[in-house]
Symmetry: C2
C-alpha cells in the first residue's frame, strides 16, 4: 500500500462533469489500496474571472486582498470534489492551504512554501479518508492567506508529496506524457517512459510546457518522483525521477527542445576589460528584461563581441538599452535579429558520451543549416539558427539521435 499524491489542474476540474470523472479516477486508485492525497486547482476560468472582478475595483489590486479573493477558486473545487467522492462512498475530507497548514513566506501572489504540517493529513489517511487539498495557496505566519503564483498547484502537489514522503506525485494534465520533442513538428516524436529532473528542467525551460519549472526543481530537491499523466486517458505517462545507475543504458539524448520566441542582440567591438559583461547586462536587467543565452567569444585586437538572447517582446527595449551602453563603452555597433530560433538537445547521457555536440553540428551541417550561436551545459547543447530552419533542424536532430525508433521500453 503506497501513498500517492495526485494533482488535477484547472481543465481537469473545469466542469462538474469533469470533477465527477476525477472522483471516479480517484475512487479506482483508492480501491486499489493506495492512500491518496488529491491536490486541485480552481475550475478553469475561475481564477481569471476573480482577477477580472478585482481589476474592476482597482487596476493594481492590493496583493494581500487579491490572494483572499483568488484563493476562493480552489476552495470551491476541493469542496465539490470531496462531495463527489463521498457521494461514491469514498470517505474524504477537504482542506484549504490554511487548514493543512501550508506555511509560506508573506510574498503575496508569489509566495514560497516554507513548511507543511502533515499531522491532520496523516490522521485522515490513517482513518482511510482521501484528503483533498487546495493547490496554489497557503498561509503566512501571521495567518494571512497567500498564493503561490500561477501554476502553483503543481508546487503544492510536490511539496505535499515531499512532506508525506509519498511514493509518487502524479500530475494529471491534457497530455499523456513528456515527448522527445513537439509532435506537431516531428510526428515520430515519442512519449518518454522516464526522464531525469535535470533533463525535465532543461526541456521545460526550453519550451515543453508540461510542468511548472518550479515544481520540477522542488521535486528534484526533495527527490519526489513526479509522473506526468493524461487526466482522462489511460496510460503510464512519463516518470520524472533521479538519474539512476542504469542511465548508461539510456539513450544519450532524451529530447529536442526549441523556442520560437527569442531574439538576439550583439554589441560589437567592446573593449576587452574586466567588468565589461556587467556593464552590458546590468542596465538590461535593471530594465526588467530577462536574458536567456549569453555568449562571449575570445577577444582579438583587445575588443570582443558580446551576444545574448531575450524574449522577442523585449527586443525593442533591450536594443535601446544596448545602444546607450555601446556609446558609453565606446563599442563599435549594436546589431540584432528577431528571426532566429533556439534548438537544444537535452540528455543526461551526454555526460558520459563524447562527441554529442559534434554529432549535433554534423546533422545540422548535412542540412546546410548555419549555426549562429552555441552554448552548452552539462546535459544540454543549444544552438541559435535562422528561424526558417526550425522544423528541418528539429527533425534532423530527432533522427540523428535515434529518437524516431518505433518504440522505447521502460526500464
Amino acid at each position: 500500500m503506497a501513498l500517492i499524491v495526485q494533482k488535477f489542474g484547472g481543465t481537469s476540474v473545469g466542469t462538474v462533469e469533469r470533477i465527477e470523472q476525477v472522483a471516479e479516477k480517484v475512487k479506482k486508485f483508492r480501491e486499489g489500496g493506495d492512500d491518496i492525497v488529491v491536490v486541485v486547482s480552481a475550475m478553469s476560468g475561475e481564477t481569471n474571472r476573480l482577477i477580472e472582478l478585482a481589476k474592476q475595483v482597482s487596476d493594481q489590486p492590493v496583493p494581500r486582498e487579491l490572494d483572499v479573493m483568488i484563493s476562493t477558486g480552489e476552495q470551491v473545487t476541493i469542496a465539490l470534489l470531496t462531495m463527489a467522492l463521498i457521494k461514491r462512498g469514498v470517505p474524504a475530507v477537504s482542506y484549504t492551504g490554511n487548514q493543512v497548514r501550508i506555511l509560506t513566506d508573506s510574498a503575496h501572489n508569489k509566495a514560497r512554501i516554507l513548511q507543511i504540517d502533515d499531522q491532520k493529513l496523516r490522521a485522515d489517511l490513517k482513518e482511510g479518508r482521501v484528503v483533498v487539498v487546495a493547490g496554489f495557496q497557503g498561509v503566512d505566519e501571521h495567518g494571512n492567506i497567500t498564493t503561490l503564483g500561477r501554476g502553483g498547484s503543481d508546487t503544492t502537489g510536490v511539496a505535499l508529496a515531499a512532506a508525506l514522503k509519498a511514493e509518487e506525485c502524479q500530475i494529471y494534465t491534457d497530455v499523456d506524457g513528456v515527448y522527445t520533442t513537439d509532435p506537431r513538428v516531428v510526428p515520430q516524436a515519442q512519449r518518454l517512459e522516464k526522464i531525469t529532473f535535470e533533463e525535465m528542467l532543461e526541456m521545460a525551460s526550453l519550451g515543453s510546457k508540461v510542468l511548472q519549472i518550479r515544481s520540477v526543481e522542488f521535486a528534484g530537491k526533495y527527490n519526489v518522483p513526479l509522473r506526468v499523466l493524461h487526466s482522462f486517458q489511460e496510460g503510464p505517462g512519463t516518470l520524472i525521477t533521479i538519474d539512476e545507475e542504469e542511465s548508461m543504458e539510456q539513450p544519450i539524448i532524451s529530447g529536442i527542445a526549441f523556442n520560437r520566441d527569442e531574439a538576439k542582440l550583439t554589441i560589437r567591438g567592446v573593449p576587452d576589460i574586466p567588468g565589461v559583461a556587467f556593464k552590458i547586462l546590468g542596465p538590461v536587467s535593471a530594465a526588467n528584461i530577462e536574458v536567456d543565452m549569453i555568449v562571449q567569444n575570445v577577444a582579438h585586437d583587445n575588443t570582443t563581441d558580446f551576444t545574448f538572447t531575450v524574449h522577442r517582446n523585449d527586443y525593442q527595449s533591450a536594443q535601446q538599452v544596448l545602444e546607450n551602453t555601446a556609446r558609453e563603452l565606446g563599442a563599435r555597433e549594436v546589431v540584432g535579429d528577431t528571426k532566429i530560433t533556439k534548438v537544444s538537445i537535452v540528455g543526461v547521457g551526454m555526460r558520459s558520451h563524447a562527441g554529442v555536440a559534434s554529432r549535433m553540428f554534423e546533422a545540422l551541417a548535412k542540412e546546410n543549416i548555419n549555426i549562429q550561436m552555441i552554448s552548452t551545459s552539462e546535459i544540454k547543447v543549444s544552438v541559435v539558427i535562422e528561424e526558417k530552419y526550425l522544423e528541418l533542424a528539429v527533425r534532423a536532430l530527432h533522427t540523428a539521435f535515434e529518437l524516431d525508433a518505433p518504440a522505447r521500453q521502460a526500464d
Copy 2:
C-alpha cells in the same frame, strides 16, 4: 470617537458599483473620526450560485463541504471592499471568519457563535485601519469552516459589536427603517425612531422581515444597540435598543404586525384531562410541523376545544395528524380554516397601560370584524380574523392607536 460596526447585506454589495458606493459611505464615516468594522455578505446571487453548483454534484451536499464552498462568497466581497477602500486612501484589511477568529460550534450550515477573538481587530483599529470581516462564517475548534445559516451576517455584525463593545451595530438594508406597519397596507405608516428589542422580536416574527430574529435576540442579550438604515439613502433609520425609562412617554403601541400565511385547526370535544395538550401537539411536532398560536379555553361538560395555527403549507399534513389524534382521544371532530389572518399590536407601552386589548377589540368591532381567536403576551395582543378583513383591520388599528399622526419625534 466611537466604534461602529456596519453590516452590508448581499444587495448592498451586489455589484462592483455598489461595493464602490459602500466604500464611499465607509470612508465618510471613517473621516468623521469613528473606528469602523464592516461586515459584508456575499454579492447577491453568489451564495445561491454556489449552492446550485454543489447540488449538481449531490442532492444533499455534505454539510462540512458545503460550508467550505459557500463561505467563499463573503471571502470575495471582503477582498473587493478592502481594495475599494485602499484605493480611496482608507487603510483597511480583510478577515475571514477563520482569521478573526469567530469560533462557532460544529453544526455545519447552521453554526452558533461561541466566542470572538478581538485581538487582531483591536490592533488593526488602533493602527487606524478599517476592518472588513466576512459575515455568515466562522470556524469550529477543529479548524473546520462553518456557516451560520441564512441571514447569519446580521448575527456576525451583532456578535462583533458585542465582542468589541461597539457603540452601535448598523444594519444597512433596502428599507430606511422599521415601520409602524407595512406601508403597502397603510400608506400613513411611519418610520419608528426607536423600538425595543422585544418589540422588534415580536414585529419580526410576525412578518416585518427587516432583521433576522436571531440577530435581534443576540443584540438584546448583549445589549448591543442595533440601527436599521438604508444602504444608499441618507437618514437616521430606526434604533433598536433596550427599554429605557422614558418608555412611559412613548406611544403605547409601536406597530401593527400581521401574517397572511397562517391556517387554523381546531379539535373539538376533547376530554378535559391532564396531558391532553401534549397528546394533541406531540404528534404534530413529531411530524415537523411548527405551531404558532395555541388557544385552549375553559372546559364545559368535561370536554374542551383546542385550537392552534400552523403555516398554510403545513395545513394538510397537520389536519391528517389531528384526525388520527381525534380518533384516539375520542374527540368529537376536527375543523379547520385556511382563510384566516393574524393581526397583532406590539408595544412595550402596553405593560403600563390597562385597556389596550379592549381598545383593540373596540376598534375591530366598530368595523364589524369578528375575532376568531385571541392570544396575548406581555407586549403583544394577537387576534385571528377572516382573511378578507386584513387591510381593514390593520388600518383601523393603526388609526385607533394614533400611529397615523403626521410625525413622531425621536426622544
